[in-house]
Amino acid sequence: MAELNLAPGVREQLAAIARVRWQIFVNSLRTLRGRLELVSHIFITLGFAAGGIGGLAGSTAGAYYLVSSGKTEWLAAILWPIFLFWQLFPVVATAFTDNFDTSNLLRFPLSYSSFAVIRIVYGSLEPATMLSSLWLLGVAAGVGMASASLLPWAALALILFAALNILLARMIFSWVERWLAQRRTREILGVLFLLFIISFQLIGPLMSRYGRSAHPDLRRFAERVFPIQRLLPPGTAASAIASAAQGDYAIAAGTLAILGIYGSAIFWFLHVRLRAQFRGENLSEAPALTESTGERGIVHVGWKLPGISGPVAAIFEKEIRYLSRSGPMLFTLIMPVFILFIFRLTPSTSSRGSGSFLASSSEMAFPIGAAYALLILTNMVYNNFGPEGAGVQMYFTAPVPIRSVMLAKNLAHSTILALEMVLVWVGAGLIYKPPALATTLATIAGILFALPVNLTVGNLLSISSPKKIDYGTFGRQRASNTTVFASFGVQILVVGLAAITLMAARSFDRIWLATAVFLVFAAVAWVVYSAVLKGIDHMAFSHREDLIAELTRAS
């Protein structure tokens, strides 16, 4: 009789999973595409590393200054931005987030604890965790340089703070994923977001008042806010270090215990989601069989778009239907307004001392929001076929040129951008002030230039560097590294050119100059777009095997 006690240990399982991920990575280097991915990944990592090192130096210097000048409690001023970045970046910048599917691990004799560790560890291998951890290391170094005796306490507090952040990020991510997966919860989330934005109308005047008021008022405001923030994780961590600095070790230990309680509470909420996933939760939107009434569905005729051929209209309709059923993508699309909101809350960078950069240059809110809307749209534009999966084969067996397919997708994405711009215009008006006509026209002209550039590059990359993505699951919309890298280059070029033009026009106090320049750029860009679209069939057919193979492969 065979030995039945074969359940492997957690360590062996984790090692096996790590090994298989490594083997997959090594095998991916066999193809040119795989090697390009690696090179792009290295460049992206270098980009992040530059930001990380800058932040590391800043946090080290900041922590050193605060501790050596006896303002240890103000370490919260460093920990808060780190905390916000850690939590918001993965949700806002899903292009850098890779939420890999662990459901196929469930068939193995994997214990819940192994599953939870895998979800937490693999989910944390993303830029926000890496950079934030680096910055925390900087804080610890700064504290240690200023006061070596404080280092053990600081290290303990920061390790606890880091663990809490890792758990909180995973917790937020898993709950947002859950809420976006189904229509009902998605709608509730949408309404909450709307209320959040509307409520800002009440907070806005308050912020403006404090933003514009004299220094003593601002100080009074900070004094009121300070005790509240001490109760929250970044403030608690800073308080623990400050108490240790003052020799109140019992208080420091108690404060650290509060941090531990926060961590435990967060872990419990995360555990609820992980447990559900471990039990094989299915978040599909299919109506349960018992709900089937036997009703025969009426097949509605497809959309008719004036002046547009049947196949192009059909693809346009399909694109819009896909998007309307994708909670994660809809969530991403409201981000431009959210970003305007975030900008409204950020401290002043202006010498005039007003509430925020955009509060002092509120006419820039619409251009910045529109640029961000375009940036978000690149997620779709640069990986046109990603959501189709095996369905992409249909485009190659149907009697429709690929240029028509691309045209339809570009039309759909352009329509979404137009709607986004309306949303941003209204949002900018509500949060700041209605954009001036000249600014509005200049922004529209700028987008008319930036859009064809992105569509052109997007069409080419969609064919040459596709990646299967899942519109239905949060954090599984990440394009290939090559695409992300190329998209960075294009955005730097386009946004840089647009910013220089706008700044120059502003310095002459002639915004219409920017409009005129953008329109000239736009004319050239549309000509290039049209030429590339004409030749796209040839490129699509020469790349069809790789394209189909990539999109039909199992995730």
């Binding site: 009789m1 065979a2 599909s284 939107e285 299919a286 109506p287 089937s292 036997g294 009703e295 025969r296 569905g297 009426i298 097949v299 509605h300 005729v301 497809g302 008719k304 049947g310 196949p311 209209a313 059909a314 693809i315 309709e317 399909k318 239907r321 896909y322 059923r325 994708s326 959501p387 189709e388 999966g389 095996a390 369905g391 992409v392 084969q393 249909m394 190659f396 067996t397 149907a398 009697p399 429709v400 040129p401 519109y471 239905g472 057919f541 069809r544 095997e545 189909i548 039909t552």
Partner: protein
Amino acid sequence: MSSPAISTDGLTRRFGPLTAVEDVDLRVAPGQFFGFLGPNGAGKSTTIKMLTGLLAPTAGRIEILGLDLAAHPLEVKRQIGVVPEGMALFGRLTGAEYLNFVGRMYGLDRETAAKRAAELLDFMQLADQPKKLVTDYSHGMQKKLALAAAVIHGPKILFLDEPFEGVDAIASGTLKAMLQSMISRGATIFLTSHVLEIVERLCSHLAIIHRGRLVAQGSLEELRAGVEAQAAAALSSDGGRATTVVAPGEKLTLEQIFLRIVGGAPPADQELSWLS
């Protein structure tokens, strides 16, 4: 004599050093229910991909209904329907939306596409859960939907890559009924399958590909006669010592013919002693 529905000359496909399909000359007459068989990795899917425009041949020529596929891809595609490997469905549409979409891609007007979509959903017994997304369909339902999509424009030739794989007896019955009705109306069907019993029952003509080369082609009777003749020749050459192919009065099944042609042998006895 009318031109073949499908014909290939010297069809070859190489993937680097590997030759997946080599010098294949196929002839499929109009109205035939044609089965394309072969062991795993023999080149079936590669061939069907080339015939449907999903893969470019390295060498050779493909004619569909007398039209050169390379020169007239769109004209050819208008007249064929395809259920490729992986089915090419769009998971986040409902069945009705998907059929409507495919119909319009093949040039049907909006009203016709919607009418045919409704009829096909009814025929395939997929109409009673109209709000269900394709991604939530069972495998069998997806196969039925893929077939419905492949025929919505009334193609003259239908290419099916493993249409019966993972399909239950009820769904399989529905699929077979539809295919036979198409054949009775003059369509040509080109099918690959591993389910030899179904192929034997449905197909009038067959081709067998092995290690990228076409090793047999013809009607089932022609293939049977060929194998029996070979067996008889072998029997006489060794003075009657070899065992007979089949008992007197019985016919070789397609499975036996297939195994004779591709030389399949049962796996050697192995000891996997740890298996309970």
